[in-house]
């Protein structure tokens, strides 16, 4: 039989393979590798295209066509893209306000929206004058649409100069598409980049090198328009070489290939798939108990973790920074830690439970895959807000305490979440199999251990955060909402442990408390961002508030109903005895 490690590696490779095969033909590679400076970072055109298309349409590909080839069409054959349905409108009132047909959440083409351009501009100006807090979802959506269509319109003309039939240096055009900053100025010290149109329009920036680069672009544009892919590829490649020669060699260029590979692999989506399959296998194993399906679920969890780990590490290398620096990365990292914790737990449980003969045996696998899946889904949703690899504002950059405290707290969050998931298992087990006390005893031990783990890491992380705050602005503690959130998790866990020690609650109380700790973590983590105050707020994620309320409400209902049922349950032979020692009783 093949070793488990080998098969798991093979599986992970299989998840990676699609990225290794060039889908569009290699002639697109040079275009993907083109450097662009956006928001302070040199990135490959591939990333820029994906982010842009995601920002427009909520997807990173357009009907099977990858983002780079979409962008190339927009730039080089703009006329052919006008009826692509790329502008996602999330609110049905927006098309109504613009007077264009459409209902619900749907995508429009530039042509459709442009038919109401004046109206859009007028509405957007109105919305822009409102205070940010007073804008409704409709106004935000109108502004977003306005900004997006304007970016698109400017890109349509970005290579207008290439249409010029004459050879030689083109005349300046009106539209410079400043967003397409692909050409560094000849004086490298300024660190300033311009779009080709911007370069042409600026007098005094035309040394021979620049001249050559512009004509390479012109050649590429013409080649693309007439379908000569080989020539297009060569011209862009020559352009790239010329740019790289002008930049300080060695910097940033090394990570370009890695970043393109990362983009193509989409590791977090693959990991999501793997974790989803794990859950499917676990459900199947409830129906068909046996070792094999369990083995499969373990295999997929490990494979998912491998791909997930690759993604985390690739991001660290690309950005040369620690794993958690923004809200998006907290989701990814907590998911990763959750899976890891689940696997560690499974390793210990396998020894203590001998689990394969009973349903819901692989608790560690289950908890890990649930945490991994849910938080990666949240991360995916969040990534629609824009570039997830943005640069960091001054106060958040490069400080040992800052970076370590965020990572440590994220590990603590993951611990509390995993404990909470196992808490669900405990409660459900008591509902379904009231007599199965041995199982619950062991589950309770896991809850205790994982929750203690969560408490310890959250505490250490919070203390490190305090040290950072003291070093950075002279106070260890300032009652900032995010600090309060972390404190709340610590207090909640401390309450549970002390209450358990004082016998104010039993194992069931501890399980319920662990479920409560998920609520606390979720509130502390992004609930406080929704309050919109404090330096830690990362900005409002639309729609999150509703989900959050729904989740918290759902958990509370679950707890109340479960407790009511358990208290009334006459089936359990030892329910009375259990009640005296195990239920939530306050002295």
């Amino acid at each position: 039989m093949m070793g488990k490690k080998t098969s798991c590696l093979l599986l992970a490779m299989m998840l990676m393979v699609p990225a290794l095969l060039p889908a569009e033909g290699t002639f697109f590679m040079p275009f993907k590798r083109m450097l662009i400076l956006e928001n302070g970072r040199q990135k490959p055109m591939d990333t820029f295209a994906r982010n842009l298309l995601k920002q427009f349409s909520g997807r990173s590909s357009l009907s099977g066509q990858d983002a780079s080839s979409w962008l190339a069409r927009v730039l080089f054959v703009p006329g052919e893209t006008l009826s692509d349905q790329i502008f996602l409108v999330n609110h049905p009132d927006v098309p109504a306000a613009l007077g264009i047909p459409g209902q619900g959440r749907q995508r429009f083409s530039f042509m459709q929206i442009n038919s109401a351009a004046d109206k859009l501009q007028q509405l957007a100006m109105q919305a822009a004058q409102l205070d940010e807090k007073n804008r409704s979802a409709v106004e935000n959506e109108i502004l977003r649409l306005y900004v997006n269509t304007n970016i698109y319109a400017s890109l349509l003309n970005a290579f207008g100069f290439a249409q010029n039939p004459e050879s030689g240096f083109p005349e300046p055009e009106a539209a410079a598409a400043p967003i397409l900053a692909i050409m560094p100025l000849p004086d490298a010290r300024t660190e300033k980049w311009l779009s080709p149109g911007g370069i042409i329009a600026t007098p005094g920036l035309h040394p021979p090198g620049i001249h050559a680069e512009i004509s390479l672009l012109t050649r590429a544009a013409k080649a693309f328009a007439s379908g000569r892919s080989q020539e297009f590829s060569l011209a862009i490649g020559a352009f790239n070489d010329s740019i790289r020669e002008r930049l300080q060699p060695g910097r940033a260029n090394n990570t370009i290939s890695l970043e393109i590979f990362y983009n193509q692999l989409d590791p977090f989506f693959k990991a999501e798939l793997a974790y989803g399959l794990v859950l499917v296998f676990l459900l199947l194993s409830l129906l068909f108990p046996g070792r094999h399906i369990h083995g499969l679920s373990r295999l997929f969890l490990l494979a998912g973790l491998l791909v997930h780990t690759f993604g985390v590490i690739a991001r660290m290398i690309i950005m040369s920074r620690p794993p958690v620096t923004n809200l998006y990365e907290t989701f990814v990292f907590v998911a990763w830690t959750g899976v890891l914790l689940g696997i560690i737990l499974e390793f210990f449980q396998k020894k203590s439970l001998g689990v394969y003969d009973r349903p819901l045996g692989g608790i560690g696998i289950m908890a890990g895959s649930v945490a991994g899946l849910v938080f990666l889904l949240v991360a995916g949703r969040y990534s629609l807000e824009g570039d997830t690899m943005g640069m960091l504002a001054a106060v958040l950059d490069s400080n040992l305490w800052l970076t370590t405290h965020v990572v440590t707290i994220s590990v603590g969050y993951a611990g509390c979440v995993i404990a909470g998931i196992i808490g669900h298992v405990y409660i459900v087990n008591q509902l379904l199999h009231p007599g199965d006390r041995l199982f619950r005893q062991r589950t309770a031990a896991s809850i205790h251990a994982v929750l203690a783990f969560g408490l310890v890491f959250t505490f250490i992380g919070t203390a490190m955060g305090g040290i950072w705050a003291d070093q950075s602005w002279g106070r260890f503690w300032g009652w900032d909402p995010k600090e309060n959130g972390a404190l709340l998790i610590i207090l909640w866990c401390a309450i549970l442990f002390h209450a358990r020690l004082a016998k104010m609650i039993g194992s069931l109380g501890m399980a319920v408390g662990a479920v409560g700790s998920i609520i606390t973590v979720v509130l502390a983590w992004f609930g406080v961002n929704l309050l919109g105050v404090g330096m830690h707020s990362y900005g409002f994620t639309s729609g999150v508030a509703r989900w959050l309320l729904g989740f918290v409400g759902g958990e509370l209902v679950f707890i109340v109903v479960a407790l009511l049922v358990i208290r009334r349950n006459p089936l359990s032979p030892d329910s009375k005895k259990e009640r005296s020692s195990n239920t939530l009783t306050k002295n």
């Binding site: 302070g40 106070r475 260890f476 309060n484 309450i495 309050l531």
Partner: protein, 370 residues
């Protein structure tokens, strides 16, 4: 411990776990309430009403313990537990250390909340100063001028508000505060020279308040005289008394620093092609105690000098005079306590978990360990 006092009921209650649980629950509720209040009314209101208060009134009628009270009760509970309840055994050493660390943390928090002071100092490039202003604590300053010589004295508004008259030295007059407005607007004067102040609701950010007061000058001879004063005044209020002019003004409280600090150059950098700030830094020259040197204060890299710490707080770019830079100046005698407590707690956790691991290894042979 088999001392009698341990079994004495009040001590047992004070040291009990139940006390801890209830105290922590209260603390959690205060944290939630304070955070929500902060979102609605601002940091200052939350600090004043909940985080820095002994008792606060819910809806103005129901008295509830503030964070200081809850923290103090937990401090007593924890002290009692450390003294009377926790077991002084080697196996419990880690837990003991963690709880002693928590005592230091609570104590340090209390000391900081009572004694930490924060001031601000804004300098333009080339400018130097030996003074810093409080963020929103005020003082009444009065001065007389004789030729080039200006004699200034100041009294804390907080002291004046307690009702004690302030004797102005070098004269036989006293200044008493009749009324105080924490935030007010001057209205059109009823008579010439008479300012009427209208009280308005305090701002969410106390730095935006314009405090004002009705003062009374009392002297051994002559009738008492009343006048209004507020901080937004561009000119001091002049009062003539026994042939001398006294100038009064309400201003942010000032302190003298043990050094003179001069801003040489402020620099802000952004990431290329963006408006995202990459760094802020101020090159300064400090002079004090016979020393003179240059220093760099930047984000996350403060300057420490004789108990004061200078942080890069904000900046301004004003066209004519070049950039200016604002430093937060913090003095906190309890500054090291959180560090000590964090270290104790960390050590305690390490000891505790290593102990657990060792016990587990001893108890079970590797195969059955869980």
């Amino acid at each position: 411990m088999s001392l009698k006092i341990v079994r004495w009921k009040p001590v047992r209650i004070l040291a009990s776990l139940q006390f801890t649980v209830i105290g922590l629950l209260f603390m959690a509720i205060l944290v939630i309430g304070g955070t929500i209040l902060q979102a609605e009314k601002g940091v200052y209101a939350a600090q004043q009403n909940i985080f820095q208060s002994w008792v606060f009134w819910l809806f103005g009628v129901l008295p509830l313990p503030g964070m200081l009270l809850v923290g103090s009760l937990l401090f007593i509970n924890l002290s009692a537990a450390v003294i009377f309840r926790l077991k002084y055994r080697r196996s419990r050493l880690g837990i003991l250390l963690v709880h002693i660390g928590l005592l230091v943390l609570l104590g340090g928090g209390f000391i900081s909340s009572q004694y930490a002071r924060e001031y601000f100092l804004t300098l333009s490039e080339g400018e130097s100063s030996q003074m810093a202003n409080a963020a929103h604590e005020w003082e009444l300053a009065v001065w007389t001028q004789a030729g080039m010589k200006k004699q200034v004295q100041a009294a804390d508004i907080a002291d004046l508000r307690r009702g004690r008259p302030w004797p102005v030295s070098g004269s036989d007059m006293e200044v008493a505060m009749i009324r105080y407005f924490s935030n007010c607007r001057p209205a059109a004067s009823a008579e010439m020279g008479e300012t009427v102040l209208n009280e308005v609701a305090p701002a969410a950010d106390p730095a935006e308040n314009i405090p004002g007061a009705v003062l009374e000058i009392r002297a051994s001879q002559g009738a008492a005289r009343r006048f209004s004063i507020f901080s937004g005044n561009d000119f001091p209020v002049t009062q003539r008394y026994s042939d001398r002019d006294y100038y009064f003004t309400v201003r942010l409280k000032r302190i003298f620093l043990p050094l003179r600090i001069k801003l040489l150059h402020f620099e802000k950098t952004v990431y290329p092609g963006s408006e995202i700030p990459k760094s802020f830094s101020s090159r300064v020259e400090i002079e004090g105690g016979g020393l003179r040197r240059e220093a760099l204060i930047s984000m996350n890299r403060p300057l420490r000098f004789r108990g004061y710490t200078f942080y890069q707080s904000s900046y301004g770019e004003d066209g004519q005079r070049g950039a200016n830079s604002t430093f937060a100046v913090v003095k906190n005698i309890g500054r090291w306590l959180p560090y000590i407590s964090s270290a104790l707690i960390f050590l305690g956790l390490v000891v505790h978990f290593i102990g657990h691991l060792a016990a587990a290894l001893k108890k079970y042979p590797p195969e059955v360990r869980s």
